[in-house]
Protein backbone atom coordinates (compact mmCIF):
# COMPACT_ATOMS: atom_id res chain seq x y z
CA UNK A 1 0.00 0.00 0.00
CA UNK A 2 2.73 2.40 1.02
CA UNK A 3 4.47 1.67 -2.32
CA UNK A 4 1.35 2.39 -4.33
CA UNK A 5 0.36 5.52 -2.40
CA UNK A 6 3.65 6.84 -1.00
CA UNK A 7 2.27 10.17 0.21
CA UNK A 8 -0.89 8.98 1.94
CA UNK A 9 -0.87 9.38 5.69
CA UNK A 10 -3.35 6.69 6.71
CA UNK A 11 -4.37 7.99 10.18
CA UNK A 12 -4.99 11.41 8.57
CA UNK A 13 -7.08 9.76 5.88
CA UNK A 14 -9.19 7.93 8.45
CA UNK A 15 -9.72 11.20 10.30
CA UNK A 16 -10.71 12.96 7.06
CA UNK A 17 -13.18 10.20 6.23
CA UNK A 18 -14.70 10.53 9.68
CA UNK A 19 -15.03 14.28 9.17
CA UNK A 20 -16.83 13.78 5.87
CA UNK A 21 -19.28 11.39 7.53
CA UNK A 22 -19.76 13.79 10.43
CA UNK A 23 -20.51 16.78 8.20
CA UNK A 24 -22.76 14.78 5.89
CA UNK A 25 -24.82 13.18 8.63
CA UNK A 26 -25.26 16.28 10.81
CA UNK A 27 -26.12 18.43 7.78
CA UNK A 28 -28.46 15.71 6.53
CA UNK A 29 -30.40 15.80 9.81
CA UNK A 30 -30.61 19.59 9.51
CA UNK A 31 -31.68 19.41 5.86
CA UNK A 32 -34.27 16.77 6.79
CA UNK A 33 -35.89 18.94 9.46
CA UNK A 34 -35.74 22.21 7.53
CA UNK A 35 -36.64 20.50 4.25
CA UNK A 36 -39.70 18.77 5.73
CA UNK A 37 -40.80 22.09 7.13
CA UNK A 38 -40.33 23.90 3.82
CA UNK A 39 -41.85 21.08 1.75
CA UNK A 40 -44.89 20.79 4.00
CA UNK A 41 -45.45 24.54 3.92
CA UNK A 42 -45.11 24.59 0.13
CA UNK A 43 -47.64 21.76 -0.15
CA UNK A 44 -50.11 23.02 2.44
CA UNK A 45 -50.17 26.63 1.25
CA UNK A 46 -50.47 25.72 -2.44
CA UNK A 47 -53.73 26.68 -4.23
CA UNK A 48 -55.19 23.22 -3.65
CA UNK A 49 -53.71 22.79 -0.16
CA UNK A 50 -55.30 22.61 3.27
CA UNK A 51 -53.86 25.99 4.29
CA UNK A 52 -54.23 27.63 0.90
CA UNK A 53 -52.40 30.96 1.18
CA UNK A 54 -51.07 32.82 -1.82
CA UNK A 55 -48.68 35.10 0.09
CA UNK A 56 -47.04 32.54 2.36
CA UNK A 57 -46.69 30.21 -0.61
CA UNK A 58 -45.04 32.94 -2.66
CA UNK A 59 -42.56 33.80 0.11
CA UNK A 60 -41.56 30.18 0.75
CA UNK A 61 -41.35 29.36 -2.96
CA UNK A 62 -39.17 32.41 -3.57
CA UNK A 63 -36.86 31.53 -0.67
CA UNK A 64 -36.50 27.97 -1.95
CA UNK A 65 -35.91 29.03 -5.54
CA UNK A 66 -33.33 31.69 -4.63
CA UNK A 67 -31.28 29.38 -2.46
CA UNK A 68 -31.47 26.58 -4.99
CA UNK A 69 -30.23 28.97 -7.66
CA UNK A 70 -27.07 29.98 -5.77
CA UNK A 71 -24.14 27.67 -6.56
CA UNK A 72 -22.86 26.06 -3.40
CA UNK A 73 -19.29 27.34 -3.82
CA UNK A 74 -20.65 30.89 -3.77
CA UNK A 75 -23.18 30.21 -1.00
CA UNK A 76 -20.32 29.36 1.37
CA UNK A 77 -18.72 32.75 0.77
CA UNK A 78 -22.09 34.43 1.10
CA UNK A 79 -22.61 32.84 4.50
CA UNK A 80 -19.11 33.77 5.78
CA UNK A 81 -20.42 36.59 8.02
CA UNK A 82 -23.03 34.33 9.56
CA UNK A 83 -20.56 31.52 10.13
CA UNK A 84 -18.07 33.94 11.63
CA UNK A 85 -20.71 35.40 13.91
CA UNK A 86 -21.85 31.95 15.08
CA UNK A 87 -18.52 30.18 15.48
CA UNK A 88 -15.89 32.93 15.41
CA UNK A 89 -14.22 31.16 12.49
CA UNK A 90 -15.14 29.63 9.16
CA UNK A 91 -12.58 26.84 9.36
CA UNK A 92 -13.44 23.33 10.61
CA UNK A 93 -16.23 20.85 10.21
CA UNK A 94 -18.88 22.36 12.48
CA UNK A 95 -18.76 25.89 10.97
CA UNK A 96 -19.35 24.29 7.55
CA UNK A 97 -22.63 22.77 8.65
CA UNK A 98 -24.95 25.84 8.41
CA UNK A 99 -23.88 26.38 4.81
CA UNK A 100 -24.39 22.70 4.03
CA UNK A 101 -27.90 22.82 5.50
CA UNK A 102 -28.85 26.06 3.76
CA UNK A 103 -27.47 24.64 0.51
CA UNK A 104 -29.45 21.40 0.61
CA UNK A 105 -32.63 22.03 2.64
CA UNK A 106 -34.40 23.97 -0.16
CA UNK A 107 -33.51 21.15 -2.56
CA UNK A 108 -34.88 18.55 -0.16
CA UNK A 109 -37.89 20.79 0.47
CA UNK A 110 -38.81 20.56 -3.21
CA UNK A 111 -38.42 16.78 -3.10
CA UNK A 112 -40.70 16.68 -0.04
CA UNK A 113 -43.28 18.78 -1.86
CA UNK A 114 -43.17 16.41 -4.86
CA UNK A 115 -43.50 13.40 -2.54
CA UNK A 116 -46.56 14.92 -0.86
CA UNK A 117 -48.16 15.77 -4.18
CA UNK A 118 -47.92 12.11 -5.13
CA UNK A 119 -50.36 11.18 -2.37
CA UNK A 120 -53.83 10.54 -3.68
CA UNK A 121 -56.07 13.48 -2.78
CA UNK A 122 -58.83 10.99 -2.05
CA UNK A 123 -56.90 9.65 0.93
CA UNK A 124 -56.69 13.11 2.47
CA UNK A 125 -60.37 13.55 1.75
CA UNK A 126 -61.18 10.21 3.40
CA UNK A 127 -59.33 11.34 6.53
CA UNK A 128 -61.27 14.63 6.50
CA UNK A 129 -64.52 12.70 6.13
CA UNK A 130 -63.56 10.73 9.27
CA UNK A 131 -63.24 13.98 11.17
CA UNK A 132 -59.43 14.09 11.34
CA UNK A 133 -57.69 17.25 12.56
CA UNK A 134 -55.20 18.89 10.22
CA UNK A 135 -52.34 17.81 12.49
CA UNK A 136 -53.53 14.21 12.26
CA UNK A 137 -53.70 14.52 8.49
CA UNK A 138 -50.16 15.92 8.35
CA UNK A 139 -48.53 13.32 10.56
CA UNK A 140 -50.63 10.22 10.02
CA UNK A 141 -51.59 10.63 6.39
CA UNK A 142 -49.29 13.00 4.50
CA UNK A 143 -45.94 12.20 6.11
CA UNK A 144 -46.69 8.57 6.86
CA UNK A 145 -47.95 7.75 3.37
CA UNK A 146 -45.05 9.48 1.65
CA UNK A 147 -42.26 7.96 3.78
CA UNK A 148 -40.80 5.83 0.95
CA UNK A 149 -40.54 8.90 -1.31
CA UNK A 150 -39.22 11.02 1.58
CA UNK A 151 -36.46 8.47 2.23
CA UNK A 152 -35.45 8.17 -1.39
CA UNK A 153 -35.39 11.97 -1.60
CA UNK A 154 -33.17 12.00 1.47
CA UNK A 155 -30.84 9.53 -0.25
CA UNK A 156 -30.46 11.87 -3.22
CA UNK A 157 -29.89 14.76 -0.83
CA UNK A 158 -27.23 12.85 1.12
CA UNK A 159 -25.29 12.23 -2.06
CA UNK A 160 -25.45 15.90 -3.00
CA UNK A 161 -24.24 16.62 0.54
CA UNK A 162 -21.19 14.40 0.19
CA UNK A 163 -20.30 16.46 -2.88
CA UNK A 164 -20.88 19.74 -1.03
CA UNK A 165 -18.65 18.67 1.88
CA UNK A 166 -15.82 18.26 -0.65
CA UNK A 167 -16.41 21.80 -1.92
CA UNK A 168 -16.52 23.06 1.67
CA UNK A 169 -13.26 21.17 2.22
CA UNK A 170 -11.49 23.44 -0.22
CA UNK A 171 -11.95 26.41 2.09
CA UNK A 172 -10.77 24.41 5.06
CA UNK A 173 -13.83 22.65 6.38
CA UNK A 174 -11.97 19.37 6.82
CA UNK A 175 -12.99 16.00 5.45
CA UNK A 176 -11.87 14.18 2.32
CA UNK A 177 -12.27 17.22 0.05
CA UNK A 178 -9.99 19.24 2.30
CA UNK A 179 -7.45 16.41 2.45
CA UNK A 180 -7.50 15.88 -1.32
CA UNK A 181 -7.10 19.59 -2.02
CA UNK A 182 -4.48 20.68 0.49
CA UNK A 183 -2.42 17.50 0.85
CA UNK A 184 -3.09 16.16 -2.65
CA UNK A 185 -3.66 18.86 -5.24
CA UNK A 186 -1.63 21.79 -3.82
CA UNK A 187 1.38 19.55 -3.12
CA UNK A 188 1.05 17.64 -6.38
CA UNK A 189 0.50 14.35 -4.50
CA UNK A 190 -1.98 12.87 -6.93
CA UNK A 191 -2.05 9.50 -5.17
CA UNK A 192 -3.84 11.30 -2.33
CA UNK A 193 -6.38 12.75 -4.75
CA UNK A 194 -7.00 9.28 -6.13
CA UNK A 195 -7.46 7.63 -2.72
CA UNK A 196 -9.82 10.39 -1.60
CA UNK A 197 -11.85 10.01 -4.80
CA UNK A 198 -12.21 6.28 -4.26
CA UNK A 199 -13.28 6.82 -0.66
CA UNK A 200 -15.87 9.43 -1.64
CA UNK A 201 -17.29 7.11 -4.27
CA UNK A 202 -17.52 4.35 -1.65
CA UNK A 203 -19.27 6.69 0.78
CA UNK A 204 -21.78 7.67 -1.93
CA UNK A 205 -22.43 3.99 -2.65
CA UNK A 206 -22.99 3.30 1.04
CA UNK A 207 -25.57 6.09 1.31
CA UNK A 208 -27.28 4.95 -1.87
CA UNK A 209 -27.37 1.34 -0.71
CA UNK A 210 -28.77 2.16 2.73
CA UNK A 211 -31.34 4.53 1.24
CA UNK A 212 -32.54 2.04 -1.35
CA UNK A 213 -32.76 -0.69 1.24
CA UNK A 214 -34.85 1.40 3.64
CA UNK A 215 -37.10 2.62 0.82
CA UNK A 216 -37.74 -0.93 -0.32
CA UNK A 217 -38.54 -2.07 3.20
CA UNK A 218 -41.01 0.76 3.76
CA UNK A 219 -42.80 0.76 0.43
CA UNK A 220 -46.02 -1.23 0.76
CA UNK A 221 -47.49 -0.22 -2.58
Amino acid sequence: MTDLFPNVDWPDLVEATGETFYMTIVALIGALILGLFLGLLLYLTSPSGLWKNKYVHFIIATFVNVFRAIPFAILIFLLFPVTNFLFGTFRGTTPAIPALIVGTAPFYGRLVEIALREIDKGVVEAAQAMGAKTSTIIFKVLLKESIPALVSGLTVTSIALVGYTAIAGMIGAGGLGDYAYFYGFTRRNFDIVLVCTVLIVIIVFIFQFIGDWITKRLDKR
Binding site: V123, A126, A129, M130, G131, T136, K140, K144, E145, K220
Partner: protein, 341 residues
Protein backbone atom coordinates in the same frame (compact mmCIF):
# COMPACT_ATOMS: atom_id res chain seq x y z
CA UNK B 1 -83.90 11.31 9.59
CA UNK B 2 -82.07 13.48 7.13
CA UNK B 3 -83.66 16.62 5.82
CA UNK B 4 -82.09 18.52 2.98
CA UNK B 5 -83.45 21.95 2.27
CA UNK B 6 -82.76 24.09 -0.79
CA UNK B 7 -79.19 22.81 -0.95
CA UNK B 8 -77.13 24.48 -3.67
CA UNK B 9 -73.53 24.60 -4.80
CA UNK B 10 -72.07 27.06 -7.26
CA UNK B 11 -68.49 26.64 -8.48
CA UNK B 12 -66.92 29.96 -9.31
CA UNK B 13 -64.17 29.98 -11.91
CA UNK B 14 -62.46 33.10 -13.18
CA UNK B 15 -64.88 33.70 -16.05
CA UNK B 16 -68.00 31.69 -15.26
CA UNK B 17 -70.02 30.12 -12.50
CA UNK B 18 -71.29 26.58 -12.63
CA UNK B 19 -74.40 25.56 -10.76
CA UNK B 20 -73.44 22.00 -9.81
CA UNK B 21 -76.26 21.46 -7.33
CA UNK B 22 -79.44 23.46 -7.74
CA UNK B 23 -81.86 23.88 -4.81
CA UNK B 24 -82.28 20.27 -3.82
CA UNK B 25 -84.96 19.31 -1.30
CA UNK B 26 -84.94 15.77 0.03
CA UNK B 27 -86.11 13.81 2.99
CA UNK B 28 -84.42 10.54 3.80
CA UNK B 29 -85.95 8.32 6.44
CA UNK B 30 -84.04 6.56 9.17
CA UNK B 31 -82.96 3.06 8.19
CA UNK B 32 -83.64 3.32 4.49
CA UNK B 33 -81.33 2.87 1.55
CA UNK B 34 -81.72 5.94 -0.58
CA UNK B 35 -80.27 5.98 -4.08
CA UNK B 36 -79.44 8.96 -6.23
CA UNK B 37 -78.89 8.17 -9.87
CA UNK B 38 -77.65 10.40 -12.65
CA UNK B 39 -75.20 10.52 -15.51
CA UNK B 40 -71.73 11.91 -14.88
CA UNK B 41 -71.90 15.67 -14.64
CA UNK B 42 -75.39 15.59 -13.14
CA UNK B 43 -73.99 16.91 -9.86
CA UNK B 44 -74.62 13.82 -7.77
CA UNK B 45 -71.02 13.52 -6.60
CA UNK B 46 -70.98 17.16 -5.50
CA UNK B 47 -74.33 16.61 -3.81
CA UNK B 48 -73.19 13.71 -1.64
CA UNK B 49 -70.07 15.65 -0.64
CA UNK B 50 -72.22 18.55 0.48
CA UNK B 51 -73.84 16.29 3.05
CA UNK B 52 -70.65 15.99 5.13
CA UNK B 53 -69.29 19.31 3.88
CA UNK B 54 -66.32 17.92 2.02
CA UNK B 55 -67.69 20.55 -0.31
CA UNK B 56 -69.02 23.72 1.35
CA UNK B 57 -72.63 24.42 0.30
CA UNK B 58 -73.32 27.78 -1.32
CA UNK B 59 -76.82 27.85 0.14
CA UNK B 60 -79.34 25.64 1.89
CA UNK B 61 -79.10 23.30 4.85
CA UNK B 62 -78.55 19.66 5.76
CA UNK B 63 -80.21 18.39 8.93
CA UNK B 64 -79.17 15.03 10.31
CA UNK B 65 -81.35 14.06 13.29
CA UNK B 66 -82.24 17.75 13.74
CA UNK B 67 -78.60 18.81 13.83
CA UNK B 68 -77.83 21.42 11.20
CA UNK B 69 -74.57 20.24 9.64
CA UNK B 70 -74.26 23.41 7.58
CA UNK B 71 -74.26 25.61 10.70
CA UNK B 72 -71.53 23.73 12.60
CA UNK B 73 -68.17 25.25 13.49
CA UNK B 74 -65.07 23.49 12.14
CA UNK B 75 -64.50 21.76 15.44
CA UNK B 76 -68.09 20.55 15.81
CA UNK B 77 -68.11 19.50 12.18
CA UNK B 78 -65.14 17.21 12.86
CA UNK B 79 -67.05 15.54 15.68
CA UNK B 80 -70.19 15.22 13.55
CA UNK B 81 -68.23 13.70 10.71
CA UNK B 82 -67.31 10.83 13.00
CA UNK B 83 -70.99 9.95 12.89
CA UNK B 84 -71.16 10.09 9.10
CA UNK B 85 -69.38 7.19 7.44
CA UNK B 86 -68.27 7.51 3.84
CA UNK B 87 -66.98 5.07 1.24
CA UNK B 88 -65.45 5.97 -2.09
CA UNK B 89 -65.20 4.73 -5.66
CA UNK B 90 -61.43 4.34 -5.39
CA UNK B 91 -61.53 3.14 -1.78
CA UNK B 92 -58.99 5.75 -0.57
CA UNK B 93 -57.21 3.43 1.83
CA UNK B 94 -53.85 4.24 3.39
CA UNK B 95 -51.15 2.26 1.55
CA UNK B 96 -48.80 2.24 4.48
CA UNK B 97 -51.29 0.63 6.84
CA UNK B 98 -52.52 -2.94 7.07
CA UNK B 99 -56.21 -3.84 6.96
CA UNK B 100 -56.36 -3.70 10.75
CA UNK B 101 -54.54 -0.38 10.92
CA UNK B 102 -56.73 1.13 8.21
CA UNK B 103 -59.89 0.15 10.07
CA UNK B 104 -58.40 1.43 13.32
CA UNK B 105 -57.63 4.86 11.85
CA UNK B 106 -61.07 6.47 12.44
CA UNK B 107 -60.97 5.01 15.97
CA UNK B 108 -57.60 6.70 16.57
CA UNK B 109 -59.17 9.93 15.37
CA UNK B 110 -62.07 9.42 17.79
CA UNK B 111 -59.53 8.92 20.58
CA UNK B 112 -60.23 5.32 21.57
CA UNK B 113 -57.65 3.42 23.63
CA UNK B 114 -55.55 0.73 22.01
CA UNK B 115 -57.50 -2.08 23.65
CA UNK B 116 -60.86 -0.62 22.63
CA UNK B 117 -59.63 -0.14 19.08
CA UNK B 118 -58.41 -3.69 18.82
CA UNK B 119 -61.70 -5.09 20.07
CA UNK B 120 -63.77 -2.96 17.70
CA UNK B 121 -61.54 -3.78 14.72
CA UNK B 122 -62.02 -7.50 15.37
CA UNK B 123 -65.81 -7.07 15.26
CA UNK B 124 -65.64 -5.03 12.07
CA UNK B 125 -63.35 -7.48 10.30
CA UNK B 126 -65.82 -10.20 11.03
CA UNK B 127 -68.79 -8.05 9.97
CA UNK B 128 -67.36 -7.32 6.53
CA UNK B 129 -65.96 -10.81 6.01
CA UNK B 130 -62.24 -10.09 5.97
CA UNK B 131 -61.18 -12.66 8.54
CA UNK B 132 -57.75 -13.98 7.63
CA UNK B 133 -56.70 -10.83 5.74
CA UNK B 134 -56.17 -8.62 8.81
CA UNK B 135 -52.47 -8.10 8.31
CA UNK B 136 -52.47 -7.66 4.54
CA UNK B 137 -51.61 -4.31 3.00
CA UNK B 138 -54.14 -2.75 0.59
CA UNK B 139 -51.82 -3.50 -2.34
CA UNK B 140 -52.28 -7.19 -1.64
CA UNK B 141 -56.08 -7.04 -1.74
CA UNK B 142 -58.59 -7.34 -4.60
CA UNK B 143 -60.93 -4.45 -5.40
CA UNK B 144 -63.82 -6.05 -3.54
CA UNK B 145 -61.68 -6.67 -0.47
CA UNK B 146 -60.44 -3.07 -0.54
CA UNK B 147 -64.03 -1.83 -0.55
CA UNK B 148 -64.79 -4.13 2.38
CA UNK B 149 -61.98 -2.42 4.27
CA UNK B 150 -63.50 0.90 3.22
CA UNK B 151 -66.88 -0.17 4.58
CA UNK B 152 -65.43 -1.47 7.85
CA UNK B 153 -63.53 1.80 8.26
CA UNK B 154 -66.67 3.84 7.55
CA UNK B 155 -68.64 1.86 10.15
CA UNK B 156 -65.96 1.97 12.83
CA UNK B 157 -67.43 4.83 14.85
CA UNK B 158 -71.05 3.55 14.62
CA UNK B 159 -72.23 6.25 12.24
CA UNK B 160 -75.84 7.39 11.87
CA UNK B 161 -75.56 7.41 8.13
CA UNK B 162 -73.31 5.90 5.47
CA UNK B 163 -72.54 7.88 2.34
CA UNK B 164 -71.53 5.83 -0.69
CA UNK B 165 -69.80 7.79 -3.45
CA UNK B 166 -70.01 5.49 -6.51
CA UNK B 167 -68.87 2.71 -4.20
CA UNK B 168 -69.21 -0.07 -6.76
CA UNK B 169 -68.32 1.76 -9.96
CA UNK B 170 -64.72 0.53 -9.99
CA UNK B 171 -65.68 -3.10 -9.38
CA UNK B 172 -66.61 -5.92 -11.74
CA UNK B 173 -70.27 -7.05 -11.82
CA UNK B 174 -69.79 -10.04 -9.56
CA UNK B 175 -67.87 -8.09 -6.93
CA UNK B 176 -70.42 -5.29 -7.21
CA UNK B 177 -73.16 -7.74 -6.25
CA UNK B 178 -71.24 -9.03 -3.25
CA UNK B 179 -70.59 -5.49 -2.01
CA UNK B 180 -74.27 -4.59 -2.54
CA UNK B 181 -75.33 -7.64 -0.53
CA UNK B 182 -72.97 -6.54 2.22
CA UNK B 183 -74.57 -3.08 2.24
CA UNK B 184 -78.07 -4.58 2.50
CA UNK B 185 -76.84 -6.85 5.26
CA UNK B 186 -75.44 -3.91 7.21
CA UNK B 187 -78.59 -1.88 6.60
CA UNK B 188 -80.74 -4.65 8.03
CA UNK B 189 -78.42 -5.67 10.89
CA UNK B 190 -77.57 -2.21 12.13
CA UNK B 191 -80.60 -0.26 10.90
CA UNK B 192 -78.14 2.10 9.26
CA UNK B 193 -79.36 4.78 6.87
CA UNK B 194 -77.47 4.55 3.58
CA UNK B 195 -77.29 7.24 0.91
CA UNK B 196 -75.67 6.14 -2.29
CA UNK B 197 -75.00 7.74 -5.61
CA UNK B 198 -74.49 5.76 -8.77
CA UNK B 199 -74.91 5.83 -12.53
CA UNK B 200 -75.97 2.18 -12.63
CA UNK B 201 -79.71 1.47 -12.39
CA UNK B 202 -78.80 -2.09 -11.46
CA UNK B 203 -77.50 -0.84 -8.11
CA UNK B 204 -80.74 1.06 -7.44
CA UNK B 205 -82.88 -1.90 -8.43
CA UNK B 206 -80.96 -4.30 -6.24
CA UNK B 207 -80.74 -2.51 -2.94
CA UNK B 208 -82.54 0.82 -2.75
CA UNK B 209 -85.89 1.51 -1.15
CA UNK B 210 -86.26 5.00 -2.58
CA UNK B 211 -84.60 6.71 -5.46
CA UNK B 212 -84.06 10.21 -6.80
CA UNK B 213 -83.03 10.93 -10.36
CA UNK B 214 -80.64 13.83 -10.87
CA UNK B 215 -80.10 15.85 -13.99
CA UNK B 216 -78.26 19.15 -14.34
CA UNK B 217 -77.98 19.63 -10.60
CA UNK B 218 -81.66 19.12 -9.93
CA UNK B 219 -83.76 16.21 -8.76
CA UNK B 220 -86.14 15.60 -11.65
CA UNK B 221 -87.97 12.59 -10.28
CA UNK B 222 -88.16 10.67 -7.04
CA UNK B 223 -90.18 8.03 -5.29
CA UNK B 224 -90.10 4.41 -4.23
CA UNK B 225 -88.01 2.19 -6.48
CA UNK B 226 -91.09 0.23 -7.60
CA UNK B 227 -92.98 3.40 -8.49
CA UNK B 228 -90.12 4.82 -10.46
CA UNK B 229 -89.55 1.52 -12.24
CA UNK B 230 -93.19 0.98 -13.13
CA UNK B 231 -94.10 4.56 -14.01
CA UNK B 232 -91.01 6.50 -15.04
CA UNK B 233 -92.02 10.01 -16.11
CA UNK B 234 -88.90 11.87 -17.23
CA UNK B 235 -87.01 10.80 -20.36
CA UNK B 236 -83.81 10.40 -18.33
CA UNK B 237 -85.59 8.12 -15.87
CA UNK B 238 -87.00 6.02 -18.71
CA UNK B 239 -83.51 5.61 -20.07
CA UNK B 240 -82.23 4.42 -16.71
CA UNK B 241 -85.10 1.96 -16.34
CA UNK B 242 -84.31 0.61 -19.80
CA UNK B 243 -80.76 -0.12 -18.60
CA UNK B 244 -82.20 -2.82 -16.39
CA UNK B 245 -85.54 -3.79 -17.94
CA UNK B 246 -84.74 -3.61 -21.62
CA UNK B 247 -87.10 -1.99 -24.08
CA UNK B 248 -90.52 -0.85 -22.87
CA UNK B 249 -93.38 -3.35 -23.02
CA UNK B 250 -95.37 -1.76 -25.82
CA UNK B 251 -92.51 -2.45 -28.20
CA UNK B 252 -92.27 -6.04 -27.06
CA UNK B 253 -96.01 -6.54 -27.61
CA UNK B 254 -95.57 -6.20 -31.33
CA UNK B 255 -92.92 -8.87 -31.32
CA UNK B 256 -93.25 -11.78 -33.66
CA UNK B 257 -93.47 -14.34 -30.90
CA UNK B 258 -96.98 -13.24 -30.08
CA UNK B 259 -98.12 -13.48 -33.68
CA UNK B 260 -96.71 -16.99 -33.94
CA UNK B 261 -98.95 -18.24 -31.16
CA UNK B 262 -101.83 -20.03 -32.85
CA UNK B 263 -103.85 -21.47 -30.04
CA UNK B 264 -105.24 -20.21 -26.75
CA UNK B 265 -104.73 -16.73 -25.40
CA UNK B 266 -101.60 -14.70 -24.77
CA UNK B 267 -101.64 -12.91 -21.46
CA UNK B 268 -99.35 -10.26 -20.15
CA UNK B 269 -98.89 -10.45 -16.39
CA UNK B 270 -97.56 -7.33 -14.77
CA UNK B 271 -95.87 -7.83 -11.43
CA UNK B 272 -95.45 -4.85 -9.16
CA UNK B 273 -94.19 -5.67 -5.71
CA UNK B 274 -95.46 -9.24 -5.98
CA UNK B 275 -92.96 -11.50 -4.32
CA UNK B 276 -94.69 -14.85 -4.87
CA UNK B 277 -94.62 -15.00 -8.64
CA UNK B 278 -92.87 -18.34 -8.61
CA UNK B 279 -95.72 -20.20 -6.95
CA UNK B 280 -98.34 -18.15 -8.77
CA UNK B 281 -97.99 -19.92 -12.12
CA UNK B 282 -98.14 -23.40 -10.64
CA UNK B 283 -101.13 -22.42 -8.50
CA UNK B 284 -103.07 -21.47 -11.61
CA UNK B 285 -102.07 -24.69 -13.34
CA UNK B 286 -103.15 -26.77 -10.35
CA UNK B 287 -106.43 -24.98 -9.79
CA UNK B 288 -107.63 -24.92 -13.39
CA UNK B 289 -107.40 -27.43 -16.17
CA UNK B 290 -105.31 -25.22 -18.44
CA UNK B 291 -101.93 -25.49 -20.11
CA UNK B 292 -99.59 -22.64 -19.33
CA UNK B 293 -96.65 -21.85 -21.54
CA UNK B 294 -94.19 -19.11 -20.65
CA UNK B 295 -93.28 -17.12 -23.75
CA UNK B 296 -91.15 -14.30 -22.48
CA UNK B 297 -90.53 -12.61 -19.23
CA UNK B 298 -88.48 -9.95 -17.58
CA UNK B 299 -88.72 -9.82 -13.83
CA UNK B 300 -86.30 -8.12 -11.49
CA UNK B 301 -86.12 -8.38 -7.75
CA UNK B 302 -86.06 -5.10 -5.86
CA UNK B 303 -85.98 -4.44 -2.13
CA UNK B 304 -89.79 -4.07 -2.19
CA UNK B 305 -90.49 -7.25 -4.17
CA UNK B 306 -90.51 -8.29 -7.79
CA UNK B 307 -91.10 -5.97 -10.67
CA UNK B 308 -91.58 -6.82 -14.32
CA UNK B 309 -93.81 -8.57 -16.78
CA UNK B 310 -94.37 -12.10 -17.99
CA UNK B 311 -96.01 -13.20 -21.23
CA UNK B 312 -97.78 -16.54 -21.06
CA UNK B 313 -99.87 -18.61 -23.41
CA UNK B 314 -102.99 -20.20 -21.91
CA UNK B 315 -104.76 -23.05 -23.67
CA UNK B 316 -107.85 -24.99 -22.60
CA UNK B 317 -111.61 -24.80 -22.99
CA UNK B 318 -112.93 -21.26 -23.25
CA UNK B 319 -114.79 -21.54 -19.99
CA UNK B 320 -111.85 -22.73 -17.93
CA UNK B 321 -109.55 -20.19 -19.51
CA UNK B 322 -111.88 -17.33 -18.54
CA UNK B 323 -112.10 -18.71 -15.00
CA UNK B 324 -108.32 -18.86 -14.78
CA UNK B 325 -108.04 -15.30 -16.05
CA UNK B 326 -110.62 -14.13 -13.54
CA UNK B 327 -108.62 -15.78 -10.77
CA UNK B 328 -105.36 -14.16 -11.86
CA UNK B 329 -107.10 -10.82 -12.05
CA UNK B 330 -108.23 -11.16 -8.45
CA UNK B 331 -104.63 -11.11 -7.21
CA UNK B 332 -102.32 -8.14 -7.09
CA UNK B 333 -101.04 -9.01 -10.53
CA UNK B 334 -102.32 -6.98 -13.47
CA UNK B 335 -103.54 -9.20 -16.30
CA UNK B 336 -103.95 -8.08 -19.86
CA UNK B 337 -105.03 -10.22 -22.80
CA UNK B 338 -102.73 -9.34 -25.68
CA UNK B 339 -103.76 -11.94 -28.25
CA UNK B 340 -106.61 -14.37 -28.93
CA UNK B 341 -106.49 -17.39 -31.16
Amino acid sequence: MIKIDQLSKVFQTSNQSIQAVDQIDLQINKGEIFGIIGYSGAGKSTFIRLINRLEEPSAGSVLIDDQDITALSKRDLRLSRQEIGMIFQHFNLLWSRTVRENIAFPLEIAGLSKAERSERVDQLIQLVGLTGREDAYPAQLSGGQKQRVGIARALANNPKVLLCDEATSALDPETTDSILSLLVDINEKLGLTIILITHEMHVIQKICHNVAVMEEGRIVEQGSVLDVFSHPKQPVTKKFVEQVMGKPDDEVADDIFIQQVNSGKVLKLQFVGESTNQAFISQVAKKYDVELNILQGNIKQTQAGAYGSLYIQVTGTDEVVSQAIAYMDSTSIEVEVVAND
